[in-house]
């Protein structure tokens, strides 16, 4: 379980970006964090991951393994001379305990088999996103955190990735927290949405969010 209590956060002691955040994520949940640009969605997951320290409040993470899939286009140097296999091998070798999940298995799962020796710069946006998901799955995570997984990738890859995440959540009971700008995907996939606005957050069910904000906007493709 992940429990955030009365969390406040500000950058460099300026005005509070996150105010009194309270969120409980239970085993098997799929929570999409939504909100406008600069509302603090990515900051919240950076706090959960321990990359930032809250001004006050607590974050209690009891999941034995947590993995993170970064926002592809923010993180990646596409000219970096590294192959798919090298990305996964490096991750595997730096883990403190040996991993039971095998590299060929995760590659097959994400339809990346045959791409082992391909440089990351030669992968499409969707394949690259799948590679980062494959890397995260190597650690057999009980909690998977993603930052805008559909950012900058084609529609077909988005459908494949969200289908995969749904299976991971519904069948393998992996808890998922996903920062999402794609509202259609958020509503379609999540068990609950966490909406951050002006620093405050509140949880709502997808149906409730559709009724309040989206009305007839939801497509059927996700």
């Amino acid at each position: 379980m992940l429990k955030i209590n009365n969390l406040y956060f500000s950058y460099n002691n300026q005005r509070n970006l996150l105010i009194n955040i309270n969120l409980t994520v239970n085993h098997g949940d799929y929570i999409s964090i939504i909100g406008s640009n600069g509302s603090g969605k990515s900051t919240l997951i950076r706090l959960i991951l321990g990359l930032l320290t809250p001004d006050s409040g607590t974050i209690e993470n009891t999941y034995p393994t947590t993995a993170y899939v970064p926002q592809r286009f923010n993180q990646l140097n596409t000219h970096f001379p590294i192959t798919v296999n090298e990305v996964l091998n490096c991750y595997k070798k730096v883990q403190k305990k040996s991993l039971t999940v095998k590299i060929p298995d995760v590659l097959k799962l994400l339809h990346l088999n045959g791409k082992e020796n391909t440089l990351i710069g030669q992968l499409s946006g969707g394949q690259c996103q799948k590679l980062f998901i494959a890397r995260a799955l190597l650690g057999n995570p009980k909690l998977l955190i993603l930052d805008e997984p559909s950012n900058g990738i084609d529609r077909q890859s988005q459908i494949e990735i969200y289908g995969f995440l749904r299976t991971l959540n519904r069948q393998d009971k992996t808890t998922i927290i996903c920062v999402e700008h794609n509202l259609q995907a958020a509503v379609k996939n999540s068990t609950a949405l966490y909406h951050i606005e002006k620093g405050h957050g509140h949880i709502c069910l997808p149906q409730q969010y559709i009724k309040e904000h989206l009305k007839n906007d939801i497509g059927e493709n996700y």
Partner: protein, 268 residues
Amino acid sequence: MLTYSFMQNAFLISIFIAVLCPVIGIFLVLRRYSMIGDTLSHASLAGIALGMLFQENPVLSAFLAVSVFSVIIEWLRKHFRTYAELILVIILSLSIGIAITLLSSGLVHANIDSLMFGSILTVTRADFYWVLFFSAISLFLVYRFYSALVFIVFDEEGATIAGLDVKLINYLFAILVAATISISIRIVGILVISALIALPIAAALQLEMSFKKTLCYGILFSYIDIFSGIIISYWVNAAPGGIIALNSVLLLLCVLFYKYKIKAKLLQ
């Protein structure tokens, strides 16, 4: 040529420098920190001047000074995230200030030319043993932390989340950079050390291969640059540093020509 003991020393030292420079260089280049080699080689001048003042071996004193400066650079990286190149200017000013003050005040007497441009004649057997010592430790540490270093350079945030002590490994790497520079300056010289760190890797990157293959080609290019540089400098009686730098640029141009003219034509 090989009957002279100074040439033997130069070749023996070069065997290690040619491996170490690209091994460290690939991580620096991919971090977009190529110019750190230039800054730290100038910082080594301060170390050498201090070593002469206290009558210590210049390789050792350079290593100690460059280690301190590279740890300061790593520490300052947190405070100058947006203007990273400013850190190099700060360290350059401090170290050059110390070196010029000591050398111009008459407290120490050194052959500045051989330090600036590199020299085969001044390399001693003691230097060789120091080089051997630092190279063995540095190469072992890179081998031991290879996956962690690649992971950090590729995705520093991901490495932190994966549980790596990124800060510790970054400081350790800073000391490895110091060791590489302090053992290379005798042959290559202060002014052109960054060429040996960056250019073989710059040439290897053009071949667009995996990390391991890029590193292997970087080492191969580095061997070609250094050994041909030493041999030519012996025959034309010029400082090896300059010839090695010219060779590095020439090799890079050859690789670019191969990539854009020959390889492109073959693929058509």
